[in-house]
Symmetry: C2
Subunit: 754 residues, 2 copies
C-alpha cells in the first residue's frame, strides 16, 4: 500500500482534524521511607482493593505503585488527572512515606529476597511476577517508567482515509499505526537523548561489577543495562502479521512467558491482550520508553506531553527510509549508543538529530501549526545543542550540587500535596465539595468523570453501576420534588409545621394591603419581613424590637420589591447550627460564628484580622474552606457601633465582632459540634429530613440553649439541598468529618461492604 | 360563666384575629335525566370507590351525590373547591345526566320502591338508610341541602380567652360554641327568610293531600313539611351536658336510631361521632339549614358564604335574651312560621328582623369591619324590605315566568362545565397540566391540596401515602440528578451518545478563539450555533446552508454574548415529535406544526387566522391547550418571504405558514400521533429515558421519514423534565391522551389496582 502521507496530512480536508487524538498515561513509582529506602509497609489499605481499582495498582513489587489515567482528548488532561492521582496516592501513604521520583529504583536491600513482590489476589498475577523475578532478577524489574498511550481519533483516520483511493479502511488504519511504530523505533534515540532520565543507579541495583556503566549516562533504563528482553528476541514491525507471528513464535519456544513480556518501546494495542490484536486490529499504541522526569511532580511535564504528540504526527508525516528490519535494527543500535552517552556531552548522532529537527520544523510550518507548537519543537531542538538542557543533563548537574537532590524533590512534592489538603490537584476548577468527593471516589477505586465542570456534575462508576452527582451532594437518592420542596421555604415550613416540628411562626402575603392589615398580629413581637424567595439576603428586614407601623410598612415595601410574595415571621433568637443529615442519620454538626477577632492587648484590630487571615484554610472565592475576613464598609460600621476603629487595640481576651451574620462567606468561623450536640436535637434534624422526604440535606436549626434537656426551645430555619460539605470536612476548630465518604458509601454500598 | 362578649370582641388584642376561622361545605344534589326525572343509573364508576372517596359520596339515595370540601381558612376557598367538585361531578356523569339544582327533589317515581337507596359497601350504612326509609318514608329523605361547617380558629379563641379572667380554656371554648348554637337557633328564621329556597315541591314528594302547603312558601325544607325529627324530639342547648344527655335519652328510648339522626339546624361537632363530643369538646359547628340556591352553580354564592360568617360573629357578639329552652323554642316557632310564608310577601317578623340588622350594622361599625363586609350586611338587610330579593322570592318570580327554570339552570351549568373542558373551576390560577392532574386526582378520590400556587406544587394523598407533585409531572419518581441532567443539554447529549443513541453532532466551546479555529470542521455542513443554556431561543443562529467564516464568527459572538459556553452542532432536518414517556413506556406522541392556515380560495389570510383562532382550545397566556395565532412582525416577514400579505387570498388547499418554528406558544398546531408512530421510534424514546435514568419525561426526536423501516434517520434533540402534558390531553387533531391519569396511577398504584 503506497500512502502519500505528506499530501494527505496537508489536505485541507484533513488538517482540521490533525490534533484529534486520545491519550492516557501510566506511571510507576516506588513508595520509600523518608530516608530513601524501599518502604517495608504494604500497599495502603485506604486505597481500596487492587482487584478492581481502575487508577491505582501495584506493578512488579509491593512498593511499586502504578498510577493509570483514563483516556482523554488532550495530553494535558491526562497529566491533570495524573496530578490528582498523585495527590490521592501521597495523602494515602502512611508514616511519612514518600513517592520515589526516579526511574532507577531507590537503594535496594542487600538480600534480593527482601524485595516483596506485589501481593495481588490472583494466583496467575503472582506466578507471572515470580517468573519474571527468576528470569531477569528482581532488581531489574524494580525500574519504573511512564507510558504514553496514544490513539489517532477516528475522525482523523477517516478524513485521511477519504483522501486515499481503493483501500480498505481497516488496512489503512493498520498501516498508519505500523508506520508510526517503525518510525518510532527508528528515532526513539531522540526521546532517549532529550528525555532520558536515569543517569545513575542507587545502591543495590547492579550486583555484577563488570556489568555496570562506567560513567553517568543518559538513560540506564533505555540502555542494554536496563530492563529489557534477551538480545535474541527480535520482533519485526514490517507488518502486523509479522509482528504477531514473531511474538507467537517466541512465546511458543518459551523465550517469552506471555506476549506482554515483550518490552518494546512501542507496544501495539488492540483487544484485551496481544492475542486479540489480529482480530480487533490496532486500536492504539503504547510508547514505553519514557523515564520518570524527577523535575515534574507527576514525572512528565506539559510541554513534553505535547511534544510526544507532535513527534508522533511528524513520524507518520516524514518519509520512511525503508520498512525493513534493517531500519528497525539501526534504530535500536543508535538508541543503545545514545543511552550510554555522558549526559552532558554532545551526542554522536548530532547530525541526524539536527536534520530530524530541521525537517520537523519545516513540517510544522507547512501544516501551519501554532506558534506554541513550533516553540515546543524548537525547545526540544535546542537540547541537541545544549546537552545540559536534557533531563539527564539537568539531573547530572543537580547531582553534582547535591547527591540527594531526588529525595529532596520527593519531600517537596509531598509537602506541596499537603499544603492545601482540601484541594484535589487537576480538579481545582471545581468547588471544594466536588473536589473532595472525587478525591474519596478515586481513593476507593470508583471510576470518575467530570460530565460538566460548570454545573459541577460528575459521574462515578463501579462495575456497571453509575451514579451522577451534582455539586457533590445532589444525587439519585433524592427526588426532583424533594429538591423543589427544599427550594420553596413556604412549603418546607408548611410540611414541618404539620409534623409538629417548630419553625418561626409567620404568614405569607400576596398583597401589600393585606400584609399591612395584619400589622396588629405582629406589633408586639420581634419579626423578620422577607421576600418568599430570598436571594443573598436581599429585601430582608429584621426587627429585634417590635416594629412601628411605619417601619412595618417600609419593610413590606422593600420585600415586595424583591418578590410577589412576602413572609412576615417571628424573629427567633438562639445559635444557628447546621446538621448534615444523610440517609436518616446526622453525620456532622457545625456551628458558624460571625467574623470576629479576640484581642491580645497588643495588636490593632486590623492586625488581628490579618493574622487570622493567615490560616491556610482561609482564601477567597469559595475555593477554600473558609473565607478571609475583609474589612469593608459593613465591617467598619459594625466596629463603629461597638466603639472601635480598625486601629483600636482591644484588650486581651476581648471578642470583637466584625459581622452581624455568621456566614462563612463573610469571614465567619466554622466549629465542629458533632460530638457535643445532644442527641435530642440530632433527632429533630433527622425527623425534619424525614418529613421533607429528603435523604441528603443540611438542616439549619436555631437553638436557644444546648443544655436545656427538654430540647423544646428550637426553631428549624430551613433544609438545604446543597449543604456545603466542605465546612464539615475542614472546620476551623474541632474534628473534620469526612461526609463526602458518607455520600459515597450511601451511593455505593457494594464498594464499602467489601 | 359571665362573659362580656362585646368588650372581648372589641378589644384591640382580639380584633386582629376576628376573622380567623375554618370553613367547610357539604352539598347534596340529585343526578337527574335530561328531562328532570331521577336518574336510573348507578353512581358513576369513574368517580372511584365511595368506600374512601373524601369528596364525592352519596347521601340517602343512589342518585343523591354529596360533595364535601376540605377545611379552608376562607369560605371563598371552600366555594372554589366546591366549584372544582362540581366540574368533576358533571364531567363524570353519563349520558347527558344533569345535577338537580334545588333542595326539593325532582319528580319522584310513583312507586316508592323505585327510589334506590345508596348502594354502599358497609352493611351498617345500608341498614341505617333502610331504617330512615321506614321511619320517615323515602320521599322525605330525598330533600337536599348545603351544610356549612364553621370553626373559630384557635388563635381567636385564645385571644378572646386571654381577655377573660379565671376561666378554664376548654370551658370557655364550649361556652362560646354553645352561645353560638343557641343564638343560631333563636335567629335561624333570618336564614330561612333570606336564603330559604324550596318554595314548591315537584311531583311525588307529597303523598298525603292534607299535608301539603297551600301556597308557594319560603322553604318547605325548613318547615314542618320538611325533613325533620318527630315533634317530641327536643334537645336542649342550655349546656353541652344537657345537649348530650337529651340526645342520649332519645337514642336510649328509641326515638332516634343514632345520635346523627338528630336533624338540628346546628349540630355540635367534636370527635368522630356525637358520642365522643363530651370527651373531646366541641371542635366546630355544622349549620345545616341552608337550602340549595339554584341561581348559584354550586348552590351558595360568595356573599352568602361571607354573610354566614358575619352572622355567626354577630350572634356571639350580641346579648342573649336568656339561655333557657324558652328562647330556643321561640326560635323554632318563628322559623316554622317564616318558612311557610309566601315568598313574595313581607314577613310577620319584620320588626324583629329590622332590629336585628340594625344592631348588626352597628356591630360592624363598632368593630370597624371593612366596607365590603358592611355592604354584604346591608344587602341582606335589604331583603327584609324587598322579599323579591330573597332566594325564594327570586325562584317564585322565575317560576311564574317559566315553570322549568330550574331544569334549564341545570342544563346551563352542565354546558358551562363543558365550555372549557380542559380547565378545573376553582383552580384556574394554576397551569393546565396541574388543573388536569387535580381533576383526575379528585375524580379518583385522592385528597388534594395546593401547597404553593406559584410553584404549581400540590400534594396528593391516599390514606397515609402522600405524594408532592410540581407542575403536574415533577414527582418523587424522578431524582434530583435526573432533573439536573435534563437541564444540562451537554450532559444529556453525552449520555445519549454513549448509549449509541443519535443526537445532533456537535462540539462545546468555552473560548471564542478555539471555537473559531474549529470552523473548518463545520464549514461544509448546515449547522446550529447556540449558547449552552438556551433561554427562549436567545442567541441561537441556524445555518441551513453552510456558514461563511464571517457568519460563523458573527454567530459565535452572538452566542457567547448569552453564555460562557457555546455549542456548535450539525443542523438536523426532519419532523419533530414529542414522546411522553412514563415509567419506561411511551404513553403519547405528538407532532407540532408551525402556525399556518389552509386557503379556501375565498378568505384572506387574516380572515383564515381569525377563523382558526375561534377554536375554543385556543387562548392566550398558556391557560389554553393552544395559543391564538398572532400576526406580529415575525409572521408578516414570514408571509412576505412567501410572497403574501395579510390580505392575500390563498388558493383552496394551499398551506401558508406563518411561523418557521413549530412551538405551540406561537400558534402552532398539536396533532396526536400516538397510534401512528412506529414502535421502533417509541423504543428509541424509551431507551433515551432509560439512559438518562428518568421516569417521567418528554423526549423530542427529529425524524426524517416515519415510513423508513430501519428507523435509523433520527436525532434526539432533548428530554424535558417538565413535558407539557396538556398538549397530549387536548390536541387540536387526533385523540386526547389522559397522561395525567397515567401519572396518578404511577404514583398511586394501590388506588388503581382496586
Amino acid at each position: 500500500m503506497t500512502i502519500s502521507y505528506q499530501k494527505i496530512l496537508s489536505s485541507s480536508k484533513v488538517r482540521p482534524y490533525l490534533f484529534q487524538a486520545h491519550f492516557g498515561l501510566e506511571r510507576e513509582g516506588h513508595r520509600v521511607r523518608p530516608t530513601g529506602e524501599l518502604s517495608t509497609l504494604s500497599h495502603p489499605k485506604c486505597l481500596g482493593a487492587r482487584s478492581f481499582h481502575p487508577y491505582i495498582q501495584t506493578d512488579f513489587s509491593e512498593t511499586q505503585i502504578e498510577a493509570i489515567t483514563p483516556v482523554f482528548d488532550h495530553p494535558k488532561q491526562a497529566l491533570q488527572f495524573m496530578e490528582a492521582l498523585h495527590d490521592v496516592i501521597i495523602r494515602s501513604l502512611e508514616e511519612e512515606e514518600l513517592l520515589w521520583v526516579q526511574s532507577m529504583p531507590p537503594a535496594l536491600p542487600e538480600n534480593e529476597g527482601d524485595i516483596r513482590l506485589a501481593e495481588l489476589e490472583k494466583e496467575k498475577d503472582v506466578a507471572y511476577r515470580q517468573g519474571l523475578a527468576l528470569k531477569y532478577g528482581k532488581r531489574k524489574q524494580m525500574v519504573s517508567g511512564i507510558h504514553y498511550n496514544f490513539e489517532f481519533a477516528d475522525v482523523l483516520l477517516q478524513a485521511m482515509w477519504e483522501q486515499q483511493e481503493n483501500v480498505d479502511f481497516q488496512d489503512f488504519k493498520t498501516e498508519v499505526y505500523m508506520k508510526l511504530a517503525r518510525q518510532y523505533l527508528r528515532y526513539m534515540w531522540i526521546i532517549t537523548y532529550c528525555l532520558g532520565a536515569s543517569p545513575r543507579a542507587e545502591f543495590g541495583f547492579f550486583t555484577d561489577e563488570a556489568e555496570v556503566p562506567q560513567q553517568p549516562v543518559r538513560s540506564i533504563r533505555n540502555s542494554k543495562f536496563g530492563y529489557r528482553n534477551a538480545q535474541e528476541v527480535f520482533v519485526s514491525y514490517q507488518s502486523l502479521e509479522k509482528y504477531y507471528d514473531d511474538l507467537s513464535a517466541y512465546v511458543e519456544e518459551g523465550a517469552l512467558s506471555e506476549m506482554k513480556e515483550f518490552y518494546s518501546a512501542v507496544r501495539l494495542r488492540g483487544g484485551a491482550c496481544a492475542e486479540e490484536l489480529m482480530e480487533s486490529g490496532i486500536q492504539y499504541v503504547e510508547f514505553r520508553n519514557f523515564d520518570l522526569n524527577p523535575f515534574a511532580r507527576v514525572a512528565m511535564d506539559e510541554d513534553t506531553s505535547r511534544f510526544i504528540h507532535l513527534f508522533a504526527l511528524y513520524l507518520i508525516y516524514m518519509d520512511e527510509e525503508d520498512c525493513t528490519d534493517t531500519s528497525q535494527r539501526l534504530g535500536y543500535e543508535i538508541n543503545d549508543c545514545v543511552a550510554l552517552e555522558h549526559p552532558l556531552k554532545k551526542t554522536n548522532y548530532y547530525e541526524e538529530g539536527q536534520q530530524f529537527f530541521s525537517q520537523m520544523h519545516h513540517f510544522a510550518q507547512t501544516l501551519n501549526l501554532s506558534q506554541e507548537d513550533q516553540g515546543i519543537i524548537d525547545k526540544f531542538a535546542q537540547m541537541l545543542e545544549k546537552p545540559e538542557m536534557t533531563i539527564a543533563g539537568q539531573m547530572e548537574l543537580a547531582y553534582q550540587e547535591n547527591a540527594n537532590f531526588a529525595l529532596e524533590l520527593a519531600r517537596d512534592y509531598r509537602k506541596k500535596t499537603y499544603q492545601y489538603p482540601f484541594q484535589l490537584a487537576g480538579f481545582t476548577d471545581l468547588e471544594l465539595s466536588t473536589q473532595n468527593l472525587l478525591f474519596d471516589a478515586i481513593q476507593k477505586g470508583l471510576k470518575v468523570e467530570v460530565l460538566d465542570a460548570q454545573d459541577q456534575m460528575v459521574s462515578l462508576t463501579y462495575k456497571s453501576h453509575t451514579e451522577i452527582v451534582e455539586k457533590g451532594n445532589m444525587t439519585s437518592k433524592d427526588s426532583m420534588v424533594a429538591y423543589a420542596v427544599m427550594e420553596n421555604k413556604v412549603v418546607t415550613k408548611k410540611l414541618l409545621d404539620r409534623a409538629q416540628l417548630k419553625t418561626p411562626k409567620g404568614q405569607e402575603f400576596r398583597e401589600p394591603s393585606t400584609a399591612l392589615a395584619a400589622y396588629p398580629l405582629f406589633k408586639d413581637k420581634p419579626i423578620v419581613i422577607k421576600p418568599k424567595s430570598t436571594n443573598y439576603g436581599l429585601g430582608i428586614s429584621i426587627f429585634k424590637q417590635p416594629a412601628t407601623e411605619a417601619q412595618f410598612r417600609k419593610a413590606l415595601d422593600i420585600a415586595f420589591h424583591e418578590d410577589k410574595e412576602v413572609i412576615v415571621e417571628t424573629f427567633v433568637t438562639g445559635t444557628e447550627y447546621r446538621f448534615f443529615v444523610l440517609n436518616g442519620k446526622t453525620r456532622a454538626v457545625l456551628r458558624r460564628d460571625a467574623a470576629h477577632v479576640i484581642g491580645d492587648g497588643l495588636s490593632t484590630i486590623a492586625q488581628l484580622v490579618e493574622s487570622k487571615n493567615e490560616n491556610p484554610l482561609r482564601g477567597v472565592d469559595h475555593r477554600y474552606p473558609l473565607e478571609k475576613i475583609q474589612i469593608t464598609e459593613t465591617e467598619k460600621l459594625m466596629l463603629e457601633v461597638q466603639g472601635y476603629t480598625e486601629q483600636s487595640i482591644p484588650e486581651k481576651g476581648v471578642r470583637v465582632n466584625l459581622r452581624e451574620n455568621s456566614n462563612i462567606s463573610t469571614g465567619g468561623d466554622s466549629i465542629d459540634m458533632t460530638d457535643e450536640m445532644p442527641e435530642a436535637y440530632k433527632a429533630i434534624a433527622e425527623q425534619a429530613a424525614r418529613v421533607l422526604q429528603v435523604n441528603i440535606t443540611g438542616v439549619d436549626i436555631l437553638i436557644e440553649d444546648l443544655t436545656d434537656e427538654s430540647a423544646s426551645d428550637y426553631s428549624i430555619i430551613e433544609a438545604n439541598f446543597n449543604p456545603a460539605m466542605l465546612f464539615h470536612l475542614y472546620p476551623l476548630k474541632g474534628k473534620g468529618r469526612r461526609v463526602t465518604m458518607d455520600v459515597l458509601s450511601y451511593l455505593f454500598p457494594e464498594v464499602f461492604a467489601s
